[in-house]
Amino acid sequence: MYEKDLQEFEPVIGLETHVELGTASKMFCGCATEFGAEPNTHTCPVCLGLPGALPVVNEKAIESTIRIGLALHCDIATWCRFARKNYFYPDMPKNFQTSQYDEPLCTDGYLDVDVEGSVVRVPIERVHLEEDTGKTLHVGGSTGRIHGATHSLVDYNRAGIPLVEIVTKPVVGTGQQAAAVAKAYVTELRDVLRGLDVSDIRMEQGSMRCDVNTSLNRPGEPWGTRTETKNVNSLRSVERAVRSEVERQAVLLRSGGRITQETRHFHEDSGTTSPGRSKEEATDYRYFPEPDLVPIAPDPDWVGALKAVLPEAPSVRRKQLLAQLGLSDLDAQAMVNAGVLDLVLATTEAGAPAAEARNWWLGSLAQAANTQGVEASELAITPAQVARVVELVAAGDLTAGLAKQVVDGVLAGEGSPDEVIGSRGLAVVKDEGALTEAVEAALAADPEAAEKVRGGKVQAVGALVGRVMKQTRGQADAAAVRALLLEKLGVSDS
């Protein structure tokens, strides 16, 4: 349906991305920004908006915003101001949000994204800085939404955390790729921001949130009325939200209906959107320059210095890695997506072959991170330790199974790989005598299997290998055990 819709209509998409900066303190006060603390413990008169309290700008947040603007090829303002966005909502302590309006810090840039092998340039309208709001929890209803709730609780820990808003210009001419471009843009943006180390970017924790604008028009006609789908909080959802809106709007337009300019909510479960507040009755935000703050005038020399030390764009880095290690583009993309690119690189620098490093970080380590709900970089194992495990396997000191156990031990905080091997007694059994003894015992314990193997059913040796491995508590090399068993039984492994 989506493909057919986009043969008939031309899509225009736009993305507004909010990113919580990873500064140690909030935008206008000294409170900590750490996620997951007890409600209302990271608050003070300023971020609670108590009468008389005044904001003071966090310079680190200004710096991060400028670096984001530079990475997105934006012009950096030489003079700009914060503005007040006035509206009443209980999670906003002052009932206005200190934001930027017509004088953003960064304007007019772009981000090149790779979509199905070709480069699409997404134009950036602006990058500005504002404060985040608190969080409201509606209690008593079945849906967690305000309707049906008996009361609401507000947590102001998030109120005042610096929030960067990155707004694209309308992206036209994407055709069938509209949804893919949207996803690729948010993915690339996330990687750029990670590369800048300005945010931890946990979409699932809400530290990066997207609003997706979509409209359709027939070829040759003016742009259609757009809808804004709010709080789309995963890469996959960005793509689904565009698809869903394209399909919904196409049905409406085809039947002669009109698109209402409105905000819509995205539902993760169904992948569809439903109407929120209508823009036609939207609040007049009564923006005006924030009189409690002085204008910001970034020194051009300082901006130049920040520009000079920007990290390479992820796309450039990816290509370098590719060439260096002989990994495929798909591999590189997968590593970026899993947040293990740097870890793989560091592991290869510590001596491991690229393929092994890739397999560890994309395999069991990515899985471990997922299970623990942390980033791979937060696991209790270092790239050097992974390289050591790879080295031990290559030397025949560990089997694949033992290596996994060693890594589990390191992840469990039992020490370095060598310490885990020592404490868990995981070294490969190289004592031929002990091994022969175990083989004899296995043959004696299961003469039936031994007979089958002798009779030509070589696969029956598996049961005997299992017995030997059990007796040696997994410390034998399974391949060597198999060869030894076959030799004893006088069968050659064809």
């Binding site: 309290a53 006035n86 009443f88 209980p90 005006f288």
Partner: protein
């Protein structure tokens, strides 16, 4: 024995250091005075006897020293003080006890100043008579049937009725100077950004400025020195040294000082008695060596309308936080009403008529489609007024004018006529829009009531105000209220 409440701040400190009286005795004398007369004056909304005596004991124990250690002070109720009620004269903050000290409060405490309590004011500092307080009006000690000025009428009345030798006011359009004018006291609005606004509950952020109030010029200067200075908690605070205000108050020479009389702030609408006292004061300055000339400030006539767009606009945003969700009054939260209804009911009940009027004005002025015509245009006028000041400074060192066109008017006289009330500040508003320092000094009486003389100076030249004020004080008889109602 000396009546401790009649002493100036300087004399009070001398009495304490000489052992003539302890700080506790001084504090107790003022608390007794409050108990004796404030039922009639109603200067205080809250008296913190316990805190005052505790601070006085610290002074007596030698824990704090300094020129104002042990001197009592009345704090306008717009300034936060940890644990002490702060209402801003509004119902909506009834019962709120801030968890933190304003920077001004903290500096006063550190200087050993004994804070007696919180003084009455027009609700959120919006008014010129203190009649807009939700807790009832304050009465002018010169005539209890008259207004003490506003918004800081509690502070000025406390000084004039000897309930405190020092007070803190805040001035957005004249709220320090006009009350000083009508009570015969000294009130100084320092340069915008000279005194921290941290903990000053905002009315209009770009105009609000806290300052010293006292019965003498030197006392005001000493207080100025304690509360002024850069504060990293206020982004608009100026990182510059405090001008030599105390030295200026002591020397008080106007020899060779170029004094400009503002042409636009005289004539029709000014009471003859006010004009007469003003002209006499100018002559007195001239006789002490000042060089007097008339200076035209052509845009001052637009100051009042510009002010009544800018200040309400900022106020409409600043006062949005009072919604009953986090602190203060909450109305209608019966479990059935929606959040919006509870917010609306709280604000409907919690705010008085004048505050609502200004919130509506400001909301309208900032609305989409009207912003340029109102708020935007007013900002341009503000720039023009600043240019008038800049042009004046090329010719004179200070500008002078009456502080207020009238003497204290009877309570209730202008309550039904907001425009007439707004015109009380016609002479004081230009300095707020410009941001420079301005002060009101006593200039004698008209029909038995005080007249104020206003001095305006370039930004960060607050010292010039004290030179002029001190020079007048030397030659004018002191303004002593008869307090006939006491007997």
């Amino acid at each position: 024995m000396t009546d401790l409440t009649r002493l100036t701040a300087v004399e009070t400190r001398e009495a304490i250091t000489s052992g003539q009286a302890s700080a506790v005795e001084v504090a107790q004398a003022h608390l007794d005075r409050i108990a004796a007369v404030d039922d009639r004056v109603h200067a205080f909304l809250h008296v913190d006897a316990e805190g005052a005596l505790a601070q006085a004991k610290r002074v007596d124990a030698g824990e704090v020293t300094g020129p104002l250690a042990g001197v009592p002070l009345a704090l306008k109720d717009v300034m936060t003080m940890a644990g002490v009620p702060t209402t801003c004269g509004s119902r909506i903050l009834e019962g709120w006890r801030p968890p933190y000290d304003a920077t001004v409060t903290a500096r006063l405490k550190a200087a050993g100043v004994v804070i007696l309590g919180k003084t009455n004011m027009d609700e959120f500092a919006m008014g010129s008579s203190t009649e807009h307080s939700a807790y009832g009006p304050t009465h002018n000690p010169w005539d209890l049937d008259r207004i003490p000025g506003g918004s800081g009428g509690g502070s000025s009345a406390a000084l004039a009725s000897y309930q405190a030798p020092l007070a803190i006011g805040t001035d957005t359009g004249g709220s320090i100077r006009q009350p000083a004018s009508v009570t015969g006291t000294v009130g100084v609005k320092p340069t915008y950004g000279a005194v921290s606004r941290y903990g000053l509950v905002a009315f209009s952020s770009s105009l609000d400025q806290a300052g010293p109030c006292a019965r003498t010029v030197l006392d005001a200067a000493l207080l100025h020195e304690v509360i002024a200075g850069h504060d990293p908690c206020d982004s608009t605070s100026i990182p510059a040294p405090v001008p030599p205000v105390v030295e200026a108050a002591r020397n008080a020479s106007v020899e060779g000082l170029r004094v400009g009389v503002v042409k636009e702030l005289q004539g029709d609408g000014y009471e003859p008695g006010v004009t007469a006292r003003f002209e006499e004061a100018v002559a007195l300055l001239q006789s002490q060596g000042a060089i007097v000339s008339e200076v035209s400030c052509p845009h001052f006539g637009y100051a009042l309308p510009a002010y009544y767009l800018i200040a309400p606009s900022e106020a409409s945003s600043n006062l949005a936080r009072f919604d009953g969700v986090r602190y203060g009054l909450r109305v209608g939260d019966d479990g059935d009403r929606s959040l919006e209804e509870v917010m609306a009911l709280t604000r409907a009940r919690g705010f008085g008529a004048e505050v609502k009027r200004r919130i509506i004005l400001g909301t309208y002025a900032l609305s989409s489609g009207y912003y340029d015509a109102y708020y935007g245009q007013a900002q341009k006028v503000r720039t023009l007024i600043s240019r008038d000041f800049q042009a004046a400074w090329s010719r004179v060192d200070v500008l002078v004018a009456p502080t207020c066109p009238t003497v204290a008017f009877p309570l209730g006289a202008k309550l039904e006529d907001p425009l007439a009330m707004y015109k009380q500040d016609i002479c004081s508003i230009p300095a707020n829009l410009y941001g420079g320092p301005a002060a009101s000094f006593p200039a004698g009486l008209s029909e038995g009531l005080p007249v104020g003389f206003q001095v305006m100076a370039p930004t960060l030249r607050d010292d010039l105000l004290y030179r002029v004020g001190g020079a007048l004080e030397k030659v004018l008889p002191p303004a002593i209220p008869p307090l006939s109602w006491e007997s």
